[in-house]
């Protein structure tokens, strides 16, 4: 699929999607085409549904009892929510970085090797290569190469989050979802993560939820503004931040609410 206006290849297409937590509807009629190898930022006030939306893209909401989705979510043209979909295979294609860095209480090496091992990589040489590559990609290699066997819990907050990025890359995904990946980090670590995002978009389709307007402006190509479970506006980031079409978007961006 290719977007006719921009010429971008479409990686994810969301059509008429409604999402429910039990009886409560959290997302209303979302339609969105997400471009391949671009960074798409999701912004909006707390509770607007942006994180819920992000988690529909790797069916992470499935683990909550009583959730339900209507409509379509297509990745590379195949329906994520069709009963035939292999959820495990899907999650392998879509990596996820969480708001709170969540290294496992294992060694740095074992953290990154966790995914590949589950997916059947047994050869120690292959694992070593994957771990090294992913740490280089996540700009952590130089800091940890001499202590891969030590616990990941000993890393700083920023390092832990980059470790989680390396861990997600180790399963070789196409899409990387990030749920406020830098919200718990200091400014210096935040910048490192942002630089990393810019690097990674060469190879990955990145969707990032952020509360930080400047961050959305700095790292993303496209920005989607959510409000009360609806997608209010979705356009090139520059356009959203300079001349948005919707009054609500403008009010939010200029800080009049939220």
């Amino acid at each position: 699929m290719v977007d006719i206006q921009t010429g971008n290849k479409i990686k994810i297409r969301v059509g008429n999607m409604n999402f429910f937590y039990g009886p409560v509807q959290a997302l209303f009629d979302i339609n969105m085409d997400i471009a391949e190898r671009k960074v798409t930022a999701l912004i909006g006030p707390s509770g607007c549904g942006k994180s819920t939306f992000l988690r529909t893209l790797n069916r992470m909401n499935d683990i909550i009892d009583g959730t339900r989705l209507e409509g379509k979510v297509l990745i590379d043209g195949s329906d994520l929510y069709s009963p035939m979909t292999d959820v495990v295979g899907l999650r392998k294609k879509v990596g996820m970085i969480f708001q709170k860095s969540n290294p496992f209480p294992k060694s740095i090496f074992d953290n990154i090797a966790y995914g590949p091992r589950i997916h059947g990589v047994k050869d120690k040489k292959d694992l070593i290569e994957i771990v090294e590559n992913c740490l280089i990609k996540s700009a952590l290699w130089d800091e940890v190469k001499d202590r891969l066997d030590t616990s990941a819990m000993g890393l700083s907050g920023g390092q832990q989050q980059r470790l989680c990025i390396a861990r997600a890359l180790a399963i070789n995904p196409d899409v990387v979802l990030m749920d406020e990946p830098a919200s718990a980090l200091d400014p210096k670590s935040t910048l490192k993560i942002e630089d990393l995002i810019s690097d990674l978009k060469k190879d990955y389709t990145i969707i990032i939820v952020t509360h930080n307007m400047q961050q959305a402006g700095r790292v993303s190509d496209y920005t989607a503004f959510f409000y009360e479970g609806r997608l209010i506006e979705f356009d090139e980031t520059e356009k959203i931040f300079t001349k948005p079409n919707q009054k609500q978007t403008e009010d939010y961006i200029t800080g009049r609410f939220g």
């Binding site: 992470m60 996820m96 969540n102 496992f104 966790y114 616990s151």
Partner: protein, 284 residues
Amino acid sequence: MNKKRTGEKIIYWLMRGVTYSVVLFIAYILLDILIHGLPAISWNFLTGFPEKSGAEGGILPAILGTLYLVIGTIVVALPLGMFSAVYLTEYSKQNRFAQSIRMAIVTLAGIPSIVFGLFGLGLFVITLNFGSSILAGSLTLACMILPTIIVASEEALKSVPKYMREGSLALGATKWETIYKNVLPYALPGMLTGAILGIGRAAGETAPILLTAAAFFLPDLPTSVFDQVMALPYHLYILATQHPEAQKILPMQYGTALVLLLLVIGLNMAAIILRIRVRKKYKW
């Protein structure tokens, strides 16, 4: 202001006093058993068979019997309890059905041990035809300590943060892979705590094994799980209440009590050491 401070002080000393009195109580029991029991303990006492209805000789068959029963109980109860807890916390929906299962488990914990004994007698000894045996006794004791292990295991599983599960699932692990590789290892120390509590109970109970496993005296050591055994708590009960010369053989009673105590402490220590080692490996 001064009055308030005095009040605070009184409360403080009251609580401190109550806490210390508990310790004093335990210390008294331990010391009493230690002082009277130690003289009775000898090589012959630990490795010999009872003679003259337990008035002389040793208690080896009872030591081994209790050890066998405890091991059998843990082998049965620990996996059962762990998997039940995994099902309840990780798989079952949190609905009324799950609630009623939990209710049943808590109720199970409150059932008197003699009732477990009768249950074991009816089901394992008679209906399943295991006879009075290590097998029947272990199964009965396992039923009795299951609630302890399930509740402790559930708490341990719940204390593993949700992000461990999410992190693993997001990497494409299946639910079972996630539980097996990224939840159970971290919950293990807590589960072992449940096992420790269970061991103490299983080793000390008299009523359930009275009906399902224990014999007053056996000339030979057991050779299979279908054999009857002697057991320390039952032996102690016989010596203290059923023996014609109960007063005269006080040292034998104290010695038996001390050995039982040391056995339980030893088993607990082993479990605690195991727990510390596992916890050290996975620290978050």
